[in-house]
Structures are given as C-alpha cells and as structure tokens.
Amino acid sequence: MAVKILNAILAIIGGIGGAMVIFWILNKLAESLKGKWEDRIKPWAFAGPAILAIAVYLIYPAIVTIQYSFANATSTAYVGFKNYKDILTDSSFLQVLFNNLLWIVIVPAMVVILGLGVATLADRLQPRGEKMSKTVIFLPMAISMVGAATIWRSVYDYQPKGTPQTGVLNAIMELFGRDPVYWYGTDKLHFNSLLLMIIFIWTQVGYAMVLLSAAIKSVPEDTVEAGRIDGAGEKRIFFSIILPQVWGTVLTVFITVLIGVMKIFDIVYVTTNGGFNTDVIGRRFYFEMFTDNNNGYASAIVVLLMIAIIPVLIYQVRHFKAEEANR
C-alpha cells in the first residue's frame, strides 16, 4: 500500500509538473522571437495547449466518428448507410429511442417543477431552516450515479417471497399483504424506467432549486409589490409576475438537465444493464462499442445523438451571442 501511495504522489506531481514545464518552455520560445513575431506567436503559446486538447479530444474524434458510422464493425471498409438502416429498422433500437424519449419528456420538466416548488417554499423559511433544507435537497448532486443507484437499493431492493424484505417499497407491499415485486423487472407502463428516473431526478432537483432560488431572489421587490397593490393573489403573483422574470433560468436548467438525460448511461447500466426494456441510447452505445465491438453501429448511434442535440446547440450559441452583446 505504501508503495502504491508513493507511486500515486509521484504520478500526480509528474503530471502537474509536466504541464507547468510545458507552459514555461512555450513562453520562453515565444519570448526568444523578435519584436512583432513575439506578439504574434505568444497568444498561440498561451491558448495552444487548450486548442490542441479540444481539437484532439473532441473535434477530431467527432469527425472520425461520423466517418466510422459509414464503415463496418471494425472500421476497415465503407458500407454506406447500412449501419443507419440496420439500427433504425431494428425494433429493439426503436424501443431504445422510445425509452430515451420518455426520459426526455418526463425528467427535465419534473426537475424544473420540483426545483421551482422547493425554491419558492424554502425562501419563506427562517434563514437557518432555509439553509438546512436547501443543503439536504442539494446534497445528492455531489453523489455519483453509481453511488445514487447503490443508495436507492435501500428502497427498491427485492428478495424472493418468503425471505425477509430489505427494501422499503417491498416492505410496504408486505405490510399490505402483497407479494414482493422485482421492481427493476416490472416494465408494465415502463414502471421500471420511471423508478430509474426517480433516482436521476433525486440527484438533479437540488441543482434546479439553487439556480431558480437565486433567480427568484433577484426579482425586483417592487414588481411583486405592484401586483399585490393591484390585488393579485399569491398564485397569480407567482405565475404572472415571478415566473416570467425567471424564465431565462428555467430554460437554462431545463436544457442542462435535457442534455444530461439525452446521454444518460450510468444509472441504467448499473441497475438493469438495459434489461427489462429500460435500455437507452447511452447504454446501447456502450454495448455496441465495448461488448459487441461494432464500431459501425456504435458510431451511427452517436451520430444520431449528435443530430438530436443540434437544436440545443443552436440555442446555446444564440443565447451566448445575445449575452455577449449585452456585455
């Protein structure tokens, strides 16, 4: 163990020190140039490593992925649109798309609604109560999806009939004299997918709450006051005065959660591994790439995911440009 820790420290120092040395050398090189050239080269010395990292780890692989999506399983020969035709006519993949659509329709909206509700209510507590309840709701945000899935075993766990139940849900079933249910295997009305969504929502509501609470607090008091003087009730004030003013934040939260849901992988992989009709794009992609070793299918799936994300991407860039114009 001691050797392992020593190696760890050396690896960490080596990695970080190496990065620092690279910048020092790059700067020295740029400074060794004369006059105008120094000014021209220096920005590239400063921004170069970042640009390189993005180019090598995101842009170049994305292009190669598109290329692979038109090639066979081992990426040795082009097959045209065969991969796309195969996956889009495969009924199990269509089911995967439908499951992902369920996640997209249900999860971001639920997260926003719950976050908005908690934010509005917690703001009315005394500062100490507000801080405590917010920390509790926010805490799962720090927990990994694998950790969250492990935690929720204490609720969803199933033991065969006749043996003591160790999950809360099945203990409740027992209390009412019902047989224990293997929840992850219950795909009627996609009930098991819903249970997985609850785990994900549990980790995300805090994020929505914090952002929305900050936005609600910055709503000018006099606009709320004006509404009150005009005789609006609390409900009316919330929907007609507060909500429109925090709408930008609602969209930000919605989109962030939406992106997280579109590529969701961990929760499904850890709990059901895509079984019992709970599979999603991210899990299927992992399966095609790593288990099935089919680069063609895996790449085609990712390209479909990228296409689905394009509208979000356009929104993001537009939003950024509008913000820059206000700067």
Binding site: P43, F46, P61, L121, L125, T150, I151, Y286
Partner: protein, 304 residues
Amino acid sequence: MTTTAVTGTTQAIKQSKPNTGAGSAGLAVKIGLGILCLLWMLPVLGLLISSFRTRDAQLSSGWWNVFKSPLDATQWTMKNYSQVLGDNQSGVNMGKAFINSFIVTVPATVIPILIAAFAAYAFTFMEWRGPDVMFVVIVALLVVPNQVALVPLLKLYGQLGMNNTFPAVWLAHIGFGMPLAVYILRNYMAGLPKAIIESAKIDGASHFTTFWKLIIPMSTPALASFAIFQFLWVWNDLLVSLIFLGRGENTILTVALQGLQGQTGQGRELIPSAGFVTILVPVLVFLSLQRYFIRGMTSGAVKG
C-alpha cells in the same frame, strides 16, 4: 413625526405581503418541506445504517428494523468497512480503488485549470485573430456529449498501447473538461478591470508575469468553482474510466462499486459500506465548498 411615518410605511408593507419573505412560512409549508427533506435523506440513511450492520442482520431484516432495538449491539459491526477497504472474498478492494480515484482525479482537475487559465488569458487580454470564432466553437462544444469521441479514442489508445493507463484517463478528462474550463474562466476574466492589466503592461511586466502575479490571484473564485466542478465530475465519472481504465489493478471507486453490485452471495453485505466509501469524498468536498460550487453554477455552466 418622521419616525412614525417610517414605521407606518414598513407596517403597511408588512401587512400587504402576508405570505412571502423569510420567516413567513406557515405550518403547512414547514411540515411539507420537513417531510420532503426526510424523504430525500431516507435512502441515504438506509445505506448508512446497512453499512454498519452484520451480514446476518442485513439479510434477516430491513434496515429500518434497527429503530426497534438500536441498542442491540450484536447487529452492529465495523467489519464491513475493514473488509471492503482491503482484500476480501468479493475480489473488490475499495482501499486500492480509493487511491486510484485520487491518482485519476487530482491531475485531471489541476492540469485543465492550468491549461484553460492560459487560454482564457489569451482570449481576454491578448490581441490576435481568431478568438471570437474559436470561442463560439467552445460554447457549442459545451453541449456535445463526450460519447462522440469515445470510439476513435479507444481505437487510438489501443494502437498506442495506452489503454488501462492513468495518462490515458487524465488526457481524456483534460480534453472533455476543457470547453467548460475555458468558458468559465474567460467569462470571469472578461469582467476584470482592463485598466489594471494596462498599467502592468506600462510598468514593463510581460504577459507571463501579469498572468501569474495579477490574473491568477484575481481569478481565484472562478478557478475554485471550476476546480470543484471538475473534481466532482471526474471522481463521479463511470463511463470514461470504465472504458479507458477498466477493472484491473488501476480501477477507480465508481467502477469498483459497479462491479460489486452484481454480488448476490458472499460479499453482498459489503455493498453499502463500499457505497459510502465511494461517496464520502465528494460529499465532504461539496459540503465544505458549497459556496464556490453554487457560484460556478450560477455563472451559467452547462456541461455536455
């Protein structure tokens, strides 16, 4: 005379908003939030209790049964933790995985900050062609899921013999975290007063000196927010480490915990304690540095 007038107005305002503002919560709201918070922590409590129960206790009754006889010492044990942190029959050593998680996370957090800070400086304070277009690309990349890069990278790492090595994961996390890092830091630096940088230039300070002596100290809040983001993101990541580090000697906590989930016989009692070992560090980091984390989030950070 004035005093009464002022008191009069404040009272009028207070009366006019009976249902909002700090401390205005009625009993229903308080109870409702209380129940919600209890429900929210219930699964965590269940895991925590289970992690200290013996194998027999865990298998013979649900975790809530401890409330019936909390003083019954035979059900409690520390053995789960001592076992799971060393070599045990389940074949998953969380102690080793814990160290591996640190080896992966620390450089994968510090190095991108360094690289991104230099880039953000160049984007904000240097005059050159290209930053505008490049920055739009970076903003667009914020929402692109990193799955788009995995197939070619796995193939490339295979050809280079880099699979299952730490540098392979470091570099991947550096690349995937870079758009967010540059975005957060550049947005922050753009809000710093330009005059200070100008005067440093007049005093004859080079960009390198200005960067280290002025900009880095002034950017600490933004550096801290990104550091927490990236730390939590890397520590909690499953996919990248599963693919590039796998389940061997170098396996990290999340991958190890996932491997343990399949245990049904021997070793099943170790799952709760393993879960706690996995979430301990991020929860502590989060609780102690919440402020910076929230600041980073409110600065509009989105990660694809």
